[in-house]
Structures are given as structure tokens and as C-alpha cells.
Symmetry: C2
Subunit: 404 residues, 2 copies
């Protein structure tokens, strides 16, 4: 019985669904007509509109409260979802049922890393919308229950100076993590190898705020079928099951979305490996990354493999000659998992201080309303002190979210 | 001391460098001028020419005999390589030094899965060149020492009927495995989800011949920087360190090739997951895949993750409702590794009958001439019967390569 009552579950990865007034309540009048707004279409669906674009899924995969047999239909209206999806007070009640003390909630409509704002044609509107989201996240959603929500914010990553300013602004407001694309490269921005991001990493170090890299936030969906068709994109996550068609008349060969769902972690293997060999971790020794929805069971494999490559290939390319990648990985990265028994069995190879749990409410990977029970069962063979670190203390530590 | 003298090391993944006469010795006169031929350029480099294309690296990464400090220069002439790279009799001596009994050798110039022949503008020439390579592989290279070489062949995958015919032809000649692209999709062919490949899988089942999926044979190189720039390609493996440049004048952000080297396994995670959810394993219950140069430490993670996805997402998409992906993985796949201590520590989660070793001579991952020593050290804590399976018996079994 390692999950003692005094151990509080801190989820470093949940998702909120923006209610219809998040932006209209906050944007100045001049942006009301082009800013994010909910429109009910002729079929009764609630649809986000932003500038001239339409975003058909208000809460993609927001299936909390449904059984797997009911999965597959996206919620098309707010009343297709349980209120905990979009109402922070109702969410706290759902967390109580689930045995979860606190949650860090990623965006829905903006994309996990704010990609929708990056795509805004009017960058002033994009920035205003992003700041509205941050204000909503910190001052409305998280302020509902400060001991239950861990504030997360986004950056206007298309503009480094604005990103630095926004980072400082949200840090002063109490943000505990920044959701950053799992890779900026597929978004058309410089990769993690570039010094371009240095001013952002500087603020992360100064404030001690970790950067959360959530699978998919860089818009890349893993899998050969998707990438082969040139759809190196996850602009709309409903499109993960793509139709590969070169007009040849060959048989259909779409991948079911089970493939990309299974491969989520590969994105974060790529992200972590990019960062390990980027030189940025040497330039920013206090930088911290959380690999959201990345699982943990693969970490020792990639660490060992990175060391093997480093040991043979550091003589002719500009990678750090002295620091083993596995040491950088243990120093700078936190693994985050929903369920991962293999990872837990290998927790000491990963680092007992480097593992956090995720609930992923209201998405399909979530075990809600049985999360505490499922986590407790998975930790039956884990000593108390280690279980406590994994479910609570590591998250409180890295996110600077102490018990009150 | 688990690696007893009676245990013979069988490498399921080495590489041969084609000598200059492989094709000119075999192609009919009409193809001599356009078929693959070595031309010495004005700088003294040996260059493969095929049709109007030029392939600058005769033996990319053929560094056997060099120390890591000397890596990075590709061999530009045959006399830049040790003879074991391209001479099968010299190779046997190098295997003796290395303590290796037998090796299965993949192509170099044609790409690991024969991609260069697929790209031929004259498909008749492409087929003739591919058959010439197969004849060379089986009748010249492997025939040099039939107890030391495991014949590998390629298929003309641009033509299913020709592939079936060639598969039967090489099977009759003694081929023990087929090198097939790790994914056909990036090559512009139907993905593993398509029934298109069924006739090939039928022959694999009839003959009992396993399909080897070697990292990179489908031309896809893992990593965000590469894929972001639209370079979903490994047409020339020297280009793995790509320059991402959108003309914005932003700082350089190339990934060093250590990134893609570290991430090789991700390709095979993608391949295996595609196949697990393709339905093809149910249609072809005796199909066997070997994941060449894929490592093994990640396998239990992906198996568990695939099961988790399957358990929640099989109600609304066309994936097998009854067979757990992890069971399909253990039944149909063999993991192949060069060094992977984490994988060995978790060998029972992978399946003790599903692990084979690779030497990777003459590439940089190889431990030559110390392979037997390195393997022995890695197996110090592994019981004799398990070590014997891993280094020898599993390979002999799956490749139908008995001791003589």
C-alpha cells in the first residue's frame, strides 16, 4: 500500500477547454470581430472562429465521463462535454472524485503550445489573444482554486522580444511553467539547435520556471503514413488518420489513429535528443524541460544510445566533448507519464527525482475517475518514499508549487 | 563467463561494399553504359554512376579499422577502406579476428532496401541491376564461405508481380532474408497498411523467410530538423545533418548527425507500430520481421503503450478487436541490437527468443575487432542458455541457417 493518504497526486498534464467568453471577455473592442469567438453553425455545432479561420473541434478528444465504447465522436457542443471540461469549479469536484490534488492544464483551442496564435495573420491580434489566454489561465481558471491548479502560460514565439516580455509578465502573475512547442521546427521556426531561443531560456533560468514540451505542440504527428503524404502537421488533431493518396489508384493505406497515439513518445525522444546535442544545455545550465505525455519507459534506452553515439561521434562534429548526454538528460529533463509500468519498473535507471505523473483529464488516455486507484495499483511494489516523489514531490519541486 | 566457446556469434546485420565489377560483370551489354559503374573523377575519388545519377559515397561510414578520432571522412576510394569491406574472403578473416561466425550483409550502393533500383528511370535496367546485386550477394559474396554468410536479397518493390517472381527466384537460390524498406511510404509506395504488399507477404510465409527492416531503408531520417525542412528523405545518407533555412535570415540551426544517429530506433518503432495496427499480421499469421539496427531497449515500452491505446481505441477504428498488439509484437518481430545493456537487462520483457545480435561491420557502430569481447562483457550476468539464444540460436532459427 505505498500510496499513503498523505501523498497528494499532482498532475503535470491535464487539459482545459476554453469556454466561449475566454477571449470576448478580454480582447479590446477592435479585436472582437476577428478574435477567437464561438459560433453555432446550422447543425448546432459550436465552432471556434479566429480571423477568417474555422476550428471545428472545441474540445477534441474531451471524452471524460464516456466509456471507450463511446469514444470516437468529438464533442461538437459544450453540452456534449461534462462541465469539468470547461468550468474550473466543476473540474475541482471531478479532481476530488479522482483523488487528485492539483493539476496543470494545457490549452485546447490554441493548440497545446499556442500554435493557433502563431498562425494569426494579424500579429497584434495574435499577441492580444495569447495574452488573453494567459490571463484566463492564471487569473480565472487557476485563481478559482490556487492550491488545486498550477498556472501554465504560453509565449508569442514568433517574436523573441515579445516572448521575453510575456514570460516576465506571466512569471510575475504566478505562472509555474511555459508550454513550448515540442519542436519549433515544424512550425517554420528555428530548431532547438539555434541560439535564437536563448533569450527565452535566459528567463526560464532566472525565474526557475521549467519549460513543458507537450507531445504534438509543435504540430508534428509521428508515423510514416502521415509524414509520407507531406502532412508533417497536426494543425488539426482530428487529421492524424490521414489518407495517403498519390493518385496512383493503389489500395488505400491510411494508418488508423492508433498508430500515432502509440507513437506519441517518439516526438519527445526527438525533442530531447535535439536538445541534448544542441549545445543549449551547456549555455543554459539551469534550464529544465518537462516531457509532457511522453511516457518514461523509453528514457534509459535513448540515454544509453545517445551516450554510445556521443562516445564515437564527438570527434568531428560540434557536440559537447565532455558531458555525457545521459548526464545532461538526467539533469535537465523530467519524464511525465500517465500509465507506464515498464517505466516504473526501471525508475532508478530514469532517476527517481525525474518522474512525474499525469492525469490527462479530459482526454481519452485519462483514467478518470479512477486515476488514484490506477496509480496506487501501479505503485504497489514501489517504496513509500519513491512513490511520494513520483506522485507529488517531484512535481511540487520542479514546478515550485509548494503545499500551502 | 556466459559466452562459452561453443556459442557462435551470428550477426544479423552487417554491410558489404559492392566492388566495382558487381554489375558490369553481370549486366547484358545493352545496359553496360547506363548500369551501375565506378568512375574515377578528376580528384581520384571512386564514384558510382547509374543512369545519369551520381552517388558520391562508395562506402558511406565504412570506417572499420579506424578509430573514432578518425571518423567523419567518408572513404572516397576503395583503397581508403580495409579489404574486408568489399572482399568476402578478406571479410571472413576480419570476422575471425572479431570472433564472429556468420554475418548477414546488407547492400551499400543500392541503399539498404534497394531504393536506388526503385529510382531507376528505366525499370528494366532497374530490375536487371537488382537481380545482378542478388546474384552477387548469393552466388559470389555468400558462396565464398557458405557457413559464414547468410544470404540476403532485395525485391523490385515497384512491381508486385516482379517482386513475387524475384522472391521465389532468390529463395530457390538460398536467400535467407529479404531486405525490405523500413517503410515503403516515404518512397512513394503504399504504406504497410495496404493490402498491396500481400502477395509478397504470401511468399514470405510459404518460404518461411523473414523480412528484414533495416533502419533508413525507407529513406526516412528521424529528427525534427530534417523533417521540418521537408527533407523527409535519406536519399543520400551523408545529408542527415541538414541545413534548415526558410530564407528568414534567422540563426543557423542544423542538427548535428548525432541526433539522427541516436534516433535510428524511432524509425523501427514507427514500422512496428504501423504493422501492429495494419491488419496484415492477422492476414499473414506466419509473417516474420527483423528490426535491423533498431535496438531493443524500447520494445517493452512501445508494447505496453500499444496495448493501452488498443484497449481504449479499438471500438471505433478498424484495428483487431481481439489480439493485443503486445502479443502480435512478440509473435511476429525479432529485435536486433549492436549494444543495448538496458534492453538486455529487460530481455524477458522483450522475449528471450526474440533477440538477435548485430555486428554492423564496417560501420561506425561496430565494435570490430572487439565484438566478441564486448558482447561477452554485456552478457556477464545472463545465464548460458539465454546468452546462447541471443548470440546464436535465435538467429539460426529465424533465418533458417543451421549449423553444418
Amino acid at each position: 500500500m505505498p500510496l499513503q493518504d498523505y501523498m497528494q497526486i499532482i498532475s503535470v498534464d491535464d487539459h482545459l477547454i476554453e469556454h466561449p467568453r475566454v477571449f470576448t471577455d478580454r480582447l479590446p473592442k477592435k479585436f472582437q470581430e476577428r478574435g477567437p469567438r464561438i459560433v453555432e453553425d446550422e447543425r448546432g455545432s459550436h465552432i471556434w472562429h479566429f480571423e477568417d479561420d474555422i476550428f471545428p473541434y472545441i474540445g477534441l478528444n474531451a471524452v471524460a465521463g464516456k466509456s471507450p465504447e463511446q469514444f470516437g465522436m468529438e464533442p461538437l457542443r459544450f453540452d456534449d462535454m461534462i462541465p469539468g471540461c470547461y468550468d474550473p469549479a466543476a473540474r475541482v469536484k471531478d479532481m476530488d472524485v479522482d483523488g487528485v490534488q492539483a493539476a496543470c492544464c494545457f490549452p485546447s483551442f490554441p493548440g497545446f503550445g499556442g500554435r493557433v496564435f502563431l498562425r494569426a495573420k494579424d500579429k497584434e491580434l495574435g499577441l492580444a489573444s495569447l495574452q488573453a489566454w494567459n490571463d484566463f489561465s492564471i487569473e480565472e481558471w487557476c485563481a478559482t482554486a490556487p492550491d488545486r491548479y498550477i498556472p501554465l502560460a504560453l509565449l508569442p514565439i514568433w517574436d523573441i522580444e515579445a516572448s521575453v516580455a510575456e514570460f516576465r509578465r506571466v512569471a510575475a502573475m504566478g505562472a509555474r511553467t511555459i508550454s513550448f512547442p515540442d519542436s519549433p521546427a515544424p512550425l517554420g521556426l528555428p530548431s532547438f539547435h539555434s541560439d535564437y531561443w536563448g533569450p527565452i531560456w535566459d528567463v526560464a533560468e532566472e525565474t526557475g520556471i521549467p519549460i513543458s514540451l507537450h507531445f504534438g505542440s509543435g504540430s508534428f504527428v509521428p508515423g510514416f503514413s502521415a509524414s509520407a503524404s507531406g502532412l508533417v502537421t497536426g494543425e488539426n488533431f482530428s487529421s492524424v488518420a490521414v489518407r495517403y493518396d498519390d493518385g496512383s489508384g493503389l489500395p488505400k493505406d491510411e494508418a488508423p489513429n492508433a498508430v500515432s497515439f502509440t507513437l506519441y513518445a517518439c516526438n519527445l525522444m526527438w525533442s530531447a535528443t535535439d536538445l541534448l546535442f544542441s549545445g543549449q544545455l551547456q549555455k543554459h545550465p539551469d534550464l529544465k524541460f518537462m516531457l509532457a505525455e511522453g511516457g518514461i519507459g523509453w528514457i534509459p534506452y535513448i540515454a544509453e544510445r545517445a551516450d554510445a553515439v556521443w562516445s564515437k561521434h564527438r570527434y568531428y562534429q560540434p557536440i559537447d566533448f565532455h558531458a555525457r548526454p545521459s548526464e545532461l538528460l538526467k539533469k535537465h529533463f523530467w519524464g511525465c507519464y500517465i500509465t507506464d509500468d515498464f517505466g516504473l519498473a526501471n525508475r532508478h535507471a530514469i532517476g527517481i527525482d525525474r518522474i512525474c505523473v499525469e492525469i490527462d483529464y479530459p482526454h481519452s488516455d485519462s483514467e478518470w475517475p479512477n486515476s488514484r486507484k490506477v496509480i496506487a495499483e501501479s505503485l504497489l511494489d514501489v517504496p513509500d518514499d519513491e512513490a511520494h516523489k513520483i506522485v507529488e514531490l517531484n512535481a511540487r519541486d520542479v514546478l515550485n508549487f509548494p503545499r500551502v
